[in-house]
């Protein structure tokens, strides 16, 4: 369970960090080639690259999640124990209630 949550958190962090970093890089001229652009193309390019980076992170997460083996079905042990206990109780309760119903009739 913890590996699932860890993957999710790492993917979420990348999803936030990548587009903000790309936008920051373009606006503060850190990325190479960003100084020569006029503001129209700068906005378009930085915006589209940021959106594409978010989608790339999503696609990577989908690939990672689909690869996990989900064939084993392991029910929660506490739930299983209480289910088995209720199964043992139920036949006794059925025997107790049926004679009372016959009396009422």
């Amino acid at each position: 369970m913890s590996s699932v949550v860890k993957k999710f958190f790492i993917a979420s962090m990348f999803m936030w960090a990548a587009p903000v970093a790309i936008l920051y890089g373009f606006n503060h001229n850190i990325l190479p080639g960003s100084t020569h652009l006029d503001s129209y193309s700068l906005t378009l390019l930085s915006g589209f690259l940021a959106v594409i980076s978010v989608n790339i992170v999503i696609a990577i997460y989908i690939c990672m999640a689909m690869k996990e083996p989900s064939d084993k079905h392991e029910p929660d042990p506490a739930f299983l124990a209480s289910a088995k206990a209720s199964l043992r109780q139920k036949p006794n309760e059925a025997e107790d209630s049926s004679p009372t119903r016959e009396k009422e009739e």
């Binding site: 369970m1 699932v4 993957k7 999710f8 993917a11 979420s12 999803m15 936030w16 587009p19 903000v20 936008l23 606006n27 503001s39 129209y40 193309s41 906005t43 378009l44 930085s46 915006g47 589209f48 940021a50 959106v51 978010v54 989608n55 999503i58 997460y61 989908i62 999640a65 689909m66 996990e68 989900s70 084993k72 079905h73 392991e74 029910p75 929660d76 739930f79």
Partner: protein
Amino acid sequence: MPASSSAAMVGASSTWSRALMQISPYTFSALGIAIGIGVSALGAAWGILITGSSLIGAAVKAPRITSKNLISVIFCEAVAIYGVIVAIILQTKLESVPPSQLYAPESLRAGYAIFASGIVVGFANLACGLCVGIIGSSCALSDAQNSSLFVKILVIEIFGSALGLFGVIVGIIMSAQATWPSK
């Protein structure tokens, strides 16, 4: 009435249009940015609450579904991130203009472009977040019953998340042409 309409000055034929044109373009820009990020976050939160509650409930009896169905939560979160991206882009588009140019047509145009961009992104992301949330909740429930259904429902979810993408693309293109008059 004729006296007040003739007193309603230059370039305006009625008092309503004059009132609208006297609103500062910065008001419209600020509203656009606020609506863009605020309503996107609303859509993302709504989607995550719908899909998250179903996911946690279904995972009680079928814990294997959690790792794959977190994809729905990631799609909803992407919606919020689109709102953040557009808000950052829009606030870099805000520039100061000298007071004489504040109500020039080009200023008004820039203000309206930023406003429209924010509204487009906000409401597209609201719809997308809701859509992906409801699909994700059904996906979790059906995956718990029958794991072969997951991939088919994921295709529907990808179509749903394309709605937010359309809004972001149009919003970015609209905001790219928000140029304030320079002097």
